[in-house]
Point group: C2
């Protein structure tokens, strides 16, 4: 038999999903359920904690326990990198994203710090540099209104970006056109990319920074950007609140028996 706290949690979860509690609505208070014979305070508390870990509710002292509204997934496709957006237009990839989804862009939705740092192992590997070599790191925290959604840190080789706007530590999307535009102006036109994704438990720092609910996971995204001749011009590492995003990729079925120069 399932534990008492698990049964209680499942029962409430079912009620939430059936719509008996609307998003924003308060759940019964712990002491009330104790009174109603659902168990001791610890037992009811365990059930509420489980619901919180499952992302259904948020609890806070003084406030109570309220049903979370489930914001729709933010869908990310490769069209967010469309050259037309950053080369010809006024937009930066992440802004274009907003435009497409009907949200207004606000300047302070992205904070940025630029610094010269020794390359961490994954960065060095991506750039083909010895570990610890100097690279420029441009770290951003991207927000949706007041809610942080992900971090994104781009690493560049010094010889590619020194003397460009990227090195200017002014907050904001690296000026008109963003980082890709700056590289383009410097003679490095990006051509293809490789993205790797995996999910993991967040660090305690990330929990604070991204305002993650207890038990919530993150997805780490590694993006390596190449020019047409295969030079790596950017390696970016993003940490996303896992529950808030989906990723979509289109590709041809590879066929190693043919060499048509199309597939990669």
């Amino acid at each position: 038999m399932a534990p008492k706290w698990r049964e209680l949690a499942d029962r409430i979860a079912k009620e939430i999903r059936s719509g008996a509690y609307a998003p924003g609505e308060q759940l019964p208070q712990i002491r009330d359920l104790v009174e109603a014979g659902e168990g001791s305070k610890s037992t009811v508390h365990a059930a509420y904690k489980a619901l919180e870990a499952e992302g259904l509710v948020t609890s806070s002292r003084g406030h109570g326990t309220v049903v979370r509204d489930q914001p729709p997934l933010k869908r990310l496709g490769i069209e967010r990198y469309d050259k037309a957006k950053w080369r010809d237009g006024d937009e930066v990839a992440f802004i274009a994203d907003r435009v497409a989804s009907g949200r207004a862009y606000r300047r302070n939705e992205q904070t940025q710090t630029v610094s010269k740092v020794p390359a961490p192992p994954v960065v060095a590997a991506a750039h083909g540099l010895p570990e610890g070599a100097d690279v420029y790191a441009r770290a951003r925290l991207v927000k949706e209104g007041a809610q942080p959604t992900h971090t994104l840190t781009s690493y560049y080789r010094p010889e590619h970006v020194e003397g460009t706007r990227i090195v200017d530590p002014t907050p904001g999307p690296a000026g008109r056109g963003g980082g890709f535009r700056v590289l383009y102006d410097a003679g490095y036109e990006i051509d293809h990319m490789r993205e790797t994704l995996f999910a993991r438990v967040p660090t305690t720092d990330e929990v604070q920074l991204l305002q993650l609910a207890p038990g919530e996971w993150v997805v780490e995204l590694h993006r390596t950007t190449f020019t047409a001749d295969g030079t790596v011009v950017e390696f970016a590492l993003g940490v996303h609140a896992a529950a808030r995003f989906s990723w979509t990729y289109d590709f041809k079925v590879p066929d190693s028996a043919t060499e048509d120069g199309d597939a990669r």
Copy 2:
């Protein structure tokens, strides 16, 4: 100040990561830590539960609490769909995967059930069918030895697969060459795919089926497979233990200002 159980958990986590406890080694028993003045049984138990949720240890009654070994991520790239593997060779995609990683293939590592079911909403949408239309569902549970790693359910339109080996409910990878080979033989050569990934909390059923640790998330993968003329011949839905996989995709930076027929 952080709660006492959190401090204890962080201290132990640090020791584990520093290597003070080797994988497979037992942590001190709860009662011992109570004796040592780390708090009451509930407090120490809360700390251990947190470590379990973070994937560092597994607890079981009778056994104790042991440090988990972190199996390396299984890396999935699009080369696992290489036509050479299922068209010309003897392998099926998932077997080729094993071969590449040096693991032996065993017949019983995949169980399969085939049935005709009314299409769930996402399936109907992918196939362009009305909701509830009949489709064939081929559900597999894939294991790595005794450890289940993911489920994968493929949905086919009846007119594409009736009379083929796919409909034969024999356990195993749908015969020589797998599902793609069967479609190929039936005149539907797969050409391109779209994959969408997102992470979510598992259902209680999935926790059992995939033997997930408490607090562990899953990644849901939607794969739509097309022929060259754009016909959808398969929609597959996979549920993966999130901590055990990474996905990699290569793509050209799109450029909507040109129409070179290469990018999609």
